[in-house]
Every structure is written in C-alpha cells, then in structure tokens.
Amino acid sequence: MVKDNYSIYICGVGGQGIIKTSTIIGEAAMNEGLNVVMSEIHGMSQRGGSVSTEIKIGEYKSSIIEKNTASMILAFEPSEVVRGLSKANKDTYLVFNTHPIVPAQIAGTNSYPSVDSIISSLKENYNNVYPVSGNHYAEESGSILSLNMVLLGSAVAVFNFPLDKENIIKAMKNNLNEKFHKMNLKAFEYGYNAIK
C-alpha cells in the first residue's frame, strides 16, 4: 500500500548542480531506512534549459510527483519555482534562490518578471514561501559552485523536513569532492540559518 509521505520537486537551470543535491537527499533517506525513488533528467536540457528532479520518500514505485502533491519545491532560480507550480498546493513549501538567470533574449522574444513580483505574488497564493539569497551566500562561502549546498541547507531547515541534518551532512561527504568539503559545509550552514 502506498503511504503518503514526503516528495520534493527540485528545479532550476541546466548546470546548477541539481542532480547532486537530489542524490544527497535520496541517499540520506536510504540511510535512515526509508524507501526512496528519484527521477532525473539528463541530456539536451542540461545545456542551459529548464531542468528538474523529483524525489519521493515513502512506499512509492513511481518517481514522478503527481500534480498538486509536492511537499516542497526547491528552486535554484526564481522563475523556475513558478514554472514548477503545477506540482504545488497551498501548503507546499516553496524554497527558492532569488538570483535570476535571464535566458538569452533576442529582439523582444523574451520577457522576465521582476523578482519582487515573483515573491509577492507567491506570498499572496501560498502559505510557505521562502526566498533565499543563494548566490550571495555561495559567494560568501568561497564560490558560486557551492550554491547547491546553500539551497540544500535551506531545504533541510524547513519545518517538518523528514530527514536528519547530520545524515544529510554524511551523504554530502559521500557524494562531493573532499577538497571542497569545508566550503560546502559553510554554504550548507548559511542556507540552513537563512531559514531557521
């Protein structure tokens, strides 16, 4: 029987380190003895297109989150959280980086809503909206490459997040280059404290 449990939709732009972040969460879930399945997109969209992964913790077989049922959307880019809203309901935690990546625009083909309007309109419609200055914290930690760990920290800090912080940190060690562990940990803590 499928027990309703915890599902996370992680989205952003190809190349932002989304798959690594998701794998860390999934591996931590496994280490806590939970069942977990996850869906990744590899291939063409990794060249700067919109990308997403989906994690379902619980007795699921399918790794694709049903519409309106995500427990959390973790977005690495502000317009991408909006693109992911079909997975959300009013109580879904919307945790997202506020730094926009504006797609290459050629003569009048692309608009981009202001980040302020994204945040305020989300707050009008959803109960748990958490913007995070991800790029800022990543740079403070030593490199923009640690952005994914800032956002991982923020995700873990959210109320009712089902996995233990220490287990996440253990999974980080198993999945990331040891050389950058200090930086990544710093970034993770920045993200965590931004929400806690």
Binding site: G14, H42, G49, S63, S79, S117
Partner: protein, 632 residues
C-alpha cells in the same frame, strides 16, 4: 556513491543507484568480459560509468564508432564463449539493426545482453520508437525492468536466459527507468567465462569454427531461421512455469485487471493503491515471447482489463488476441479505445484520468486558482530552451557562415542547411536558423547529396566530429564519387559533447582512458577526393568568413573542418572574460540579436556580460562595430 563501490561492493550492500549504474553492477555480477557502446541518452551513463571502472572490474570496454560496430563486438565476443554486453539508445538499434537481426539466427555461446533505452516523450531524441517492436522483428526475448533494482536483477537473469536459449536477450528500459535512482541491493559477482591470459586485464574466449551456424547464406539461413523459431516457440510454452512475471493483488478477489510493464507499471501500481481500486495487476517483466497462457489465466474471470504500456499498443494487441482466440467477452481498455494517450510517456495523473473515464470515480485531487498578479507572472515567464554555451565554437561557425553568405550576396533563405545530431542542432534556434532538414545521425551529408541532386539551391551541411565518424564518412565518399556540389562543415570540437563528453576516434584517448591513435578528419576528407578541404579555427571570424566565401565559389564537394574545443572539455583553456566599455557601446543590440550568447544580456537598458559565464571566446568583440567589448 563512488564508482569503485560498483566493483568492490559486497553481496547484501545497499546503494542509491541510477538505473544505468545498476545496469553496470548487474553486468559485473553476471561476469561480463566485454562491453561496447556508442553513447546516446538515456543510456549514456552506462558507458560513462564503465569507462571509469572497466579495468578495475576486469572488463574490456570501448566506445565504438557506432552502434552497429558495438553490436558486432558483442556478438563476436559471445560466439567466442564470453559474456558480452552492448547498450544503446532506441534509435541506436536502427543503426545496429542489420547485424542485430542476424545475431538471433547465428546465436551465442556465452550470454549476450543488448540493453536498449527508449525515450517516451522524447527528452533527447529524434523519434519516439518502441523497442518492443524489434523483439518481435528479430524473434528475441525482451525483459522490461521497472526500477534500478530490477535493472540489476534482469541483467543477471538476462545473461542466464541468453545462455540457456543460446541467443541474445534484449533489456528494454525507458528514460524513467534508466534515469530513475532507487535503492539497489547487491548480489554476488560471478567469475568470467573464458581463460585468464597473462598481462591481459580480461578473460579471452575461443572461437570454434562452424560455418553452417555462422554464415547466413541462403541454404544455412533456412535452417537457422527454423531452429530459432522452434526454440522461441518451445520457450513460449514454458513461460508460465517461470517466476518472472507476477500477479500483484491490490485487493483480494478483484474483478478488474491491469496488465502492465516497465515504468508504466509504477504508475498503474501507485494509482491503484492510492485510489484503493478493486484491482489486481499482471506485471509482465518478460513480455516477449508473449506469455499468452498467463494472460489467459489472468483475464478469464475478470469483468474488464486495462493495458497500461508506454508508446505503442503492443501488449494491448496481444491481450485482444487472447480475448478473441479464446472467445472471451471482456472489454479491453488501452490506447486503441482511447482510454490512454497514444504517444508520450505516462505518469500517475494520466493513468488516473484513464481509470476515471471508465470507472467513473471522483478524483480528490483539485486544481488551484491563482490571484491575478501571479497569473501575470506566469504569463511573463521566459521560455528557457537549451542553448549553446557561452564561448561555444559552434555559435562562431554559424555566425561566420551567415556573414560569408551576406558578403557573397547570397540570401540565407535560398540556402538549405542540412543539419545533424549534436549540440550544434541547437543552431535550429534563432538567430542562427541554421537547420532546415535532419533525419538521423550522419544524415546531413547524405541529405546534402540529395538536395544537390534535387535542387539548384546552395546546400551547406553541418556535422559534428563524433557524428562524422559514426556515419558521415560513406555519404562523403558518395558525394565526391557522384560529382555532387555542396559544402560539408565538420564541427570538430574534439569531443562527443551532447551526450556528456565521451571520446571519439578523432581524439588520442580510448574508452578506458588509454592512449590511442588519433584519426585525422582532414586526411579522411582528402582521401575521399573532395576538391576543397580546409581546416579553420572558427573563433577567428575573418578566417571563417573568407574560407566559406571561397567554398561557395568552388564546384564539387567542399569540406570545411571547424576545429576548436568544446568549453566543457577538462582542461579547456578559458580566456579572460570580456567587459563592455559603456563609453563606446551605442546600444545597437547587434551582439544581443546576432549571437544569443547566454553570457550577454540586456539588463535595465544596458548590455551586460556575466563574467562568471563568459569564456572569453571574443566573438562579440570581433563583431561589434564600435569596439565596445574589451578584455578584462
């Protein structure tokens, strides 16, 4: 997870693996000696992983020039008594198909598994074909795992089955199985077949001559085909006694049946369970030869049956056949009666919608209404398609070609751009608009030949280095030999970029990381007899434009090799970023509109270069009329 855990992991250990990584572990557990592939999403990570660990695992691994060669490497290893593994994306099997079909006739001694990854919803492919059709075409058994654990287990089982039947076995995955990550429990590692040889890192087999079995001349083929078809028929009659296909009860004594396989099974199971439906599911992991007896036993006392499968209605037809042959009167719901969509991948929402159409229950799921301000934000969302990276030399080549046409007074609209498959296919997008026709890997050159025959329009083909080695050489020879007149551009970025950066024969390294001879594209082009062969650096715009202008005047096949490394290559020589001198910038937007470089955008009315993205390729500074771009 560190890759070496796939080699060193012990029985009982659990790891969180991608379906493709699980396939590698399964191959190692099964004791393979040889593996060969040509990369292709969604199967690419199998090769990427093997290229890291093949030597530690005692396996020979190669990136073959194309899937057909990979198939032949596996087939010959298997008739020499070794266990061999080849894998590819679904369309790769088209390339390999000529040898593939005959391998079922000639059979194997050691086990041979062919993993083929389908791409429902076409995340990264040129079509949405269903590999289960090939199992029927070749009369070869097919296994359809639904998650990473099953991928690993089916690899091990597939090799056993292959040896028992003495023919290769297909494993069909879909994107959602190959790219699903899940918990995988390891099993024991079997030892390899064949003999260890001093100084060799994998076992060697021995080929026993037997032309009657291996040479498909007509007298032999008739016999070989008969043996194959009897073998499959005998096996088919036995399938019920195997444990591989199972019935999963959602409720006791259910009167509604579901027949499903692969990723589609996951959605069927989750929806039936979540919605607490009066159902039982026949999960077909071994789906060809069709287990008609099992299907009959499963459906005979049911009120109705749903068939849930992705892409073609293949199992559905088998179920309808079972209903008809046995004179049953049971409604069958699937794609043919429009309960489920005919194309694209499924998910729980789609499966639920289909169930509701027939069973009329209410869906507790709701849709949300948004405030006007959020609706406005949603309306203003930018499209975010994949784009060429900042500094990608393909962008420079496309710009140079357009410029050469302009300076030669030839309208772009009159030129046919025959494109091919790789990162450079992104040239389809504006402002390049440099892709007009494309069929398959390597087709740009054959299509160039064809357009040169069929029209008087100028034709320019674009093909990547990996794609050229894959299937571009024979059409080039065709073009020269048949005196056709067009320009071939070989975009030599020193890697197979689109699929994640695998080596190709133009590079001095092989699939196991060893040094290997570099094959010269220029010398191949010269050997073909092309009348005009030039190597250019596309990041030198003037050289690019001048070379194309000359080629446009040349009669016959002209080959331009645009050689400049992909920015994602390890050790790529990143140049200092570019910045805008606002005293000089006239806001003409020429760079924005003609390059569409992701590092250059217009923010609050000013041209801005994102220095963290810029690779310093300097094309923007070469095209700016006001010299407004400067190196930092």
């Amino acid at each position: 997870m560190a890759y070496n855990q796939l080699v060193n992991g012990k029985k009982g250990e659990k790891h969180f693996l991608l379906g493709n990584e699980a396939a590698v572990r399964g191959a190692i557990e099964a004791g393979i000696s040889v593996a060969a592939t040509y990369p292709g999403t969604p199967s690419s990570e199998i090769g990427n992983t093997l290229s890291f660990i093949a030597k530690d695992a005692g396996v020979y691994f190669e990136f073959s020039t194309n899937e057909k060669v990979a198939m032949e490497i596996a087939a010959t290893s298997a008739v020499s008594g070794l266990r061999s593994f080849t894998f590819m994306k679904h369309v790769g099997l088209n390339v390999a198909s000529d040898s593939f079909v005959t391998t079922a006739y000639s059979g194997v001694k050691g086990g041979m598994v062919i993993l083929v990854a389908d791409d429902p919803s076409v995340f990264s492919s040129q079509n949405e074909q269903d590999t289960r059709n090939y199992a029927r075409l070749a009369n070869m058994p097919i296994l359809e795992p639904s998650n990473p654990q099953e991928v690993k287990d089916m690899m091990v089982y597939g090799f056993e089955l292959s040896e028992e039947l003495e023919i290769p076995v297909i494993i069909r995955t879909t994107t959602r199985v190959s790219h699903m990550r899940g918990i995988v429990e390891f099993g024991d590692i079997k030892s390899q077949k064949g003999k260890t040889v001093e100084g060799k890192h994998y076992n060697r087999g021995y080929f026993n001559k037997d032309p009657k079995s291996y040479i498909p001349v007509p007298v032999n083929v008739i016999v070989m085909h008969k043996i194959l078809s009897e073998k499959i028929e005998k096996f088919q009659n036995n399938i019920s006694s195997l444990n591989i296909n199972e019935v999963v009860e959602i409720k006791d004594n259910a009167k509604i049946g579901v027949i499903s396989s692969s990723s589609a099974y996951n959605y069927a199971y989750d929806v039936a369970s979540l919605d607490n439906l009066d159902m039982k599911i026949l999960k077909l992991t071994l789906s060809y030869p069709t287990p008609y007896d099992l299907i009959y036993e499963f459906i005979k006392d049911l009120d109705r049956v749903f068939v849930i499968e992705e892409v073609d209605p293949i199992c559905e037809r088998d179920v309808l056949l079972t209903v008809g042959m046995n004179g049953l009167n049971i409604p069958v719901h699937g794609k043919l009666d429009k309960t489920f969509p005919m194309v694209e991948e499924f998910n729980c929402d789609i499966v639920r919608e289909g169930f509701i159409k027939i069973l009329n229950y209410t869906d507790e799921n709701f849709s949300l209404s948004h405030t006007q301000s959020l609706e406005k934000v949603i309306g203003d969302l930018p499209t975010r398609a994949a784009t060429l990276c900042a500094g990608c030399s393909h962008r420079a080549t496309y710009y140079g070609v357009k410029q050469a046409l302009k300076e030669s007074n030839i309208s772009e609209d009159e030129v046919i751009f025959a494109s091919d498959i790789g990162c450079y296919t992104l040239g389809i997008n504006p402002p390049y608009n440099a892709a007009d026709y494309l069929l398959s890997m390597g087709s740009s050159i054959g299509d160039g030949c064809g357009f040169a025959v069929a029209t008087d329009q100028k034709v320019i083909s674009f093909i990547g280095d990996s794609t050229f080695f894959h299937s571009g050489i024979s059409p080039l020879i065709n073009g020269v030999h048949n005196k056709q007149n067009f320009i071939v551009t070989i975009l030599d970025n020193r890697i197979t970029a689109m699929t994640g950066g695998q080596p190709n024969p133009g590079m001095p390294v092989d699939g196991m990381g060893d040094e290997s001879p570099e094959i010269s594209i220029r010398e191949l082009a010269l050997a073909s007899g092309a009348s005009f062969v030039r190597v250019i650096n596309p990041l030198n715009l003037k050289q690019t434009v001048d070379t194309y202008k000359k080629a446009l005047e040349n009669e016959g096949v002209s080959v331009i090799i645009a050689k400049s490394p992909c920015t994602l290559i390890k050790g790529f020589n990143k140049k200092p970023p570019i910045k805008v001198n606002y005293d000089k910038c006239k806001n003409c937007d020429s760079c924005i509109n003609n390059l569409a470089c992701p590092a250059i955008s217009k923010i609050k009315g000013k041209v801005v270069v994102d220095t963290s993205m810029c690779n310093g390729c300097s094309i923007c500074s070469q095209i700016c009329d006001y010299n407004a771009f400067e190196t930092i």
